[in-house]
């Protein structure tokens, strides 16, 4: 077991670790502990935020934060489950600039709210030709004939 993981387990006993293989660790954490865990990984263990992934699953939105520890080559993926009727999660972008863009992207494509984000405006989609509540990465998004509708 790697030392960062040990420390993480000591500090945050509620986490649930799934070891897919030695270099890919998936860690489920409660939504309230996201900032504390992320701060621990970035500031104390020197990890780099690779990216976040937002997934629409049956249970709710899953937000994955992929942290890369470059000295060992291990990716620590923090998994947070966000309920669909209350899609809110703390923003990392408020203290960690690297997370700002991806949070904006997840906000516009999935509709998750990042509380405390300095500038939560759409990143990619058009400002003139786009309905604000169109969320293409959601499961209930109508997939057919996109190109032909106009």
């Amino acid at each position: 077991m790697s030392s960062s993981l040990q420390l993480l387990r000591e500090r945050f006993p509620q986490i649930e670790v799934m070891e897919k293989n030695p270099r890919r660790l998936y860690i489920r954490i409660p939504r309230e502990q996201l900032t504390a865990t992320a701060r621990f990984l970035h500031e104390e263990r020197g990890m780099r935020l690779s990216i976040c992934t937002g997934i629409d699953t049956r249970e709710g939105f899953e937000v994955l934060y992929h942290f890369s520890e470059d000295s060992t080559g291990i990716i620590y993926t923090l998994k947070v489950l966000v309920p669909k009727d209350d899609p809110k999660v703390e923003s990392l972008g408020s203290w960690f600039p690297a997370a700002q863009w991806i949070e904006r992207e997840m906000h516009e494509l999935l509709g998750i709210d990042f509380v405390g984000h300095p500038n939560l405006i759409p990143l990619l989609t058009s400002d003139t030709d786009w309905e604000p509540d169109r969320r293409p990465l959601r499961r209930d998004y109508e997939r057919r004939n996109e190109a032909h509708e106009r």
Binding site: K20, N21, R23, R48, L49, I55, L123
Partner: protein, 396 residues
Amino acid sequence: MSDETKVRRIVPIGPYHPLQEEPEFFKLVVEGETVVDLEINLGYNHRGHEFISPELTYDQVPFLVERICGICSNSHPLAAVLAIEDCAGIKPPPRANFIRTIIHELERIHSHLLWVGLAGHFIGYNTVWMWAWRYREHILQVFEMITGNRNHYAANKPGGVRWDIKPEHVPEIRAALDLVEKKTMMLTKAVLDDPVIRARLEGVGILTKEQAIAWSVVGPTARASGVDIDVRRDDPHCAYDQVPWNVIVLSEGDVFAKAKVRLLEIFESIKIIRGCLDKLPDGPIDMRIDEIPSGEGIGRTEAPRGEVFHYIRSDGTNRPIRHKIRAPSYMNIASNVVAVRGGSIADAALTLAAVDPCYCCTERMAAFEDGMLKYTGKDLLRLSWEKTEKIRERLK
């Protein structure tokens, strides 16, 4: 747009960047000659790959992600198949690993040469542009020989590669490498020893190590700022742990350091390819995959611009249910905001281009003229050329 003391003006750059050939849109906020802020507006290239990918089978996904970007058209498929293989827990045969490494490094050479050429063009050295692009042609010819296409090689598939390197290809690859090595050596000397280029690039657009870490930048941009990361070494995949090579790290963080890192990396790539050709094992180049179990997988590799990151989640069918793609420029471009601040306008566009931005990648997910246009891309190019001229005069 004015504050109490100085008049602030907004300079839009793009969507046609003076240096790059893709659409992008920057707004520079300037006070006099100094850049005080930058606003980046993405989306001119967003095509929704993450949305299309779940409609395709695992065999088709590499073709889709290949078309994210034409310069790193091997990095994305490679990362995607690594993610699929990670999810299914399979290891491709050794020969496939070596071929992947060779293709990947050839791509790095041509990509870095491309950047050097464009950067040369931008500071008014059109000869450098012509030279660098000419030498790049040799690499493209090698690609055409191995895979049948100059770009978009379709080299990777889950479980192996599609194209074999035949024995008769090896001498030709070596010949092309020798030629490129010789020419790049000359180019590197010419660029690094030229006092004008030095004066023009040194101290411009500095990204400090702390900033580099806070913005999580990757690739040559990070390595030029003293952050010692390279996925090829840190998270070994393919055949990178079986051949000798070095990671180039410099500490200055300016445009000159970024150029130097890229030029020196070309030689490392040549070293890797030679090592792989020497050791190329025999055997099959692909394997049969019967099913991708449900689960998730992460694949990452070092593209010419930095770490490419792919995440795939499978539900046991033959299509992914979620495919997350993170290109290196996504992190690097965001850091431009700090790199251009405090510089002069003549340097701004060069700084923006120094991370080797790849918008197609970033937006898989901006200079049209709009009303406020003060400087067009051409003007910025002209400003930059004038500055080079001035330095040239001074150094005479």
